[in-house]
Symmetry: C2
Subunit: 366 residues, 2 copies
């Protein structure tokens, strides 16, 4: 049985966790596994003030959340139970109301949702002296003012996993910005799914075959258009653009998706059935890129104040051109990283790598 | 004229800088250029308590170091003057004595030397409540206990530029360690000079021709054996090994250099004249690697508790195998980054990129 008494030499780090999907659950389990590492090496005692998702919340009971209680709550969830219907559970009006109820100086609000309803909760948290960690891209991609409010103090906010999961993209960008290095161009591939698709096309497979396979293997969202449309990549591009100081709204990101407007209204099955009608077009695009010594990537591009995402022919021997498979990659071109960019590459998705990135963010906040 | 009055809303960050070589001078000039960025965006006022090198020190005069005074001190140095002979200069007994004289809580001791005489100064600084930033590898590669003392608190010490200059190698490793991810293998190329040499060999040029050219172009140290011996790369490998928790001394790093013992005693000219005697051997090594679909890299390798540096045949289609030219690259293989590693690549040397990395470290320390 875990001893929950507070050692006065340790820094107490109480979390208010929003989101108990894959990342939230992986985070809970990683925090449990790493408890002695965090105590011994970092003098940190991470605990929970509240676990919240769209089905309700459980606020820290007298004596704290024991491992047994956490496991029991997750079990309750897995059986389809709402958090509000747990014996210790409650419903709550909004994330903001929950932060108002439970948050205070020293607490960390961790947003592992994909909700667009947490932005004001995060801003309230910062105003109350809490710190915030986001895996959720939405609050950083609504109006610029919200981004400004969240990002104002790097001592109090981290959002590393919003771009490239656990890859240190935001941390690196922040380091470059803090030294005054001028990041003047960014190119990157931020979707493992679309990376898989582009590699398939490069290998000479047809568009329809590759998309259908990715869908069958569960690499895409249930509706593959949620990946193919490019909006998720565009959110990441916007977060990077704002990270280098560009003031920009989502509407200003040019998004070129991988299916035509006429296929937007179809059912998923209807969409999959229509895919072969795009094979000739994508075959031709790949061939035309190859004729110039280039390859097609679904790339985010930031350059000269403009931000776009879409299929892009890039030099075969550039970092992005050499990328294959589902790894993410970002090229950061700057004053000191020129002509060759600073490149970061690796797994850019997955609940475990993402949760590990969230946990690093939590530990880094002092 | 710069207003040197302290704004009470700003955090004062006074530096004690050791080392006025290329990196130290670039740091001085970058701090000057970025003064308004640091004030406006980070609320930081970076100033100097003391500038020190092996020729003496100038301690902050009444009213602080103005830009004019800093420029005048650098000019004095450029004319060959010792710092001790500057009108405001003084001599000092040791870095430790200087820290004892000028250091106190809130100060940051910045080691931009290549000296092995700063370790006890850094430990004293930490004991006095200072923070430390190292570009100098030496203090981190003497006995393990010194490394432990410097690295004990990540709130108070940074040494990002000791491996890969401004590339975020240490920060990334620290993030992985802090989340409990297990880094089980590291492979990397940490010498632009040796990268240049290996690319030359891969292109079919001879060993002697490539080394002589690198020497002529100033890519190598004045005595090219200082690069070819591999000791500098071994120091970086040891810092990485210690960074993932291995307890290890420099003697335990296996170093395979690029010239035989019999050439160690020659003059530089004698050494250069002898180079062609190694051409056949290196030609054969490259050919033998190529026969297995591999390429030769001067690589650091950490795996299963062992740490080595030397010429290594790596798969042509691995990140390290695809690397060409002078860029550095590190592959971090871990529990969450498997089978594909997390890869960081880019310029790993240069006074400006290194100084920018030191400055990022200074800003990150809260």
């Amino acid at each position: 049985m875990e001893n929950l008494a507070v050692n006065p030499a340790e820094r107490d780090k109480p979390l208010i966790l929003f989101g108990l999907g894959g990342v939230g659950r992986a985070l809970l389990s990683q925090i449990g596994e790493q408890r002695s590492l965090h105590r011994e090496k970092y003098g940190l005692r991470i605990r929970f003030l509240a676990l919240c998702d769209s089905s309700g919340a459980v606020v820290e009971p007298q004596g704290g959340f024991s491992d047994e209680l956490l496991a029991e709550i997750l079990q309750h969830k897995e059986k389809g139970g709402a958090l509000a219907s747990h014996p210790l559970g409650q419903s709550y009006q909004s994330p903001k109301a929950m932060v108002d109820q439970t948050g205070g100086p020293g607490a960390v609000v961790v947003d592992c949702t994909a909700s667009d309803d947490t932005a004001d909760a995060l801003l309230l948290a910062l105003a109350k002296g809490c710190q915030v960690v986001l895996a959720n891209k939405k609050p950083l991609t609504v109006v610029q003012e919200v981004y400004d409010g969240i990002s104002r103090s790097l001592s109090n906010a981290r959002w590393e996993t919003t771009v490239g999961a656990g890859l240190p993209v935001i941390a690196t960008l922040n380091r470059m910005v803090s030294s005054g290095d001028e990041v003047n161009r960014i190119a990157g591939s931020f979707s493992g799914t679309l990376g898989y698709l582009m590699t398939g096309l490069e290998e000479g497979r047809s568009y329809s075959e590759t998309v259908a396979e990715a869908h069958r293997l569960g690499y895409t969202e249930p509706d593959p258009r949620d990946d193919l449309g490019g909006v998720d990549v565009a959110r990441k591009a916007l977060i990077l653009a704002r990270g280098i100081g560009w003031r920009m709204e989502m509407e200003q990101v040019e998004i070129r998706g991988l299916y035509p407007e006429r296929m937007a209204g179809l059912s998923v099955d209807g969409f999959l059935a229509e895919l072969p009608s795009l094979d000739a077009e994508y075959g031709a695009r790949v061939a035309s890129a190859a004729a110039e010594g280039k390859v097609l990537r679904y790339a985010a591009a930031l350059s000269e104040g403009a931000c776009s995402v879409g299929p892009t022919a890039v030099a075969k021997d550039s970092p992005l051109g050499r990328l294959t498979g589902t790894d993410n990659l970002v090229e950061l071109h700057s004053r000191w990283y020129s002509p060759n960019p600073l490149v970061i590459q690796g797994r850019g998705a997955g609940v475990e790598a993402t949760a590990a990135g969230v946990l690093s963010d939590i530990v880094e906040l002092r």
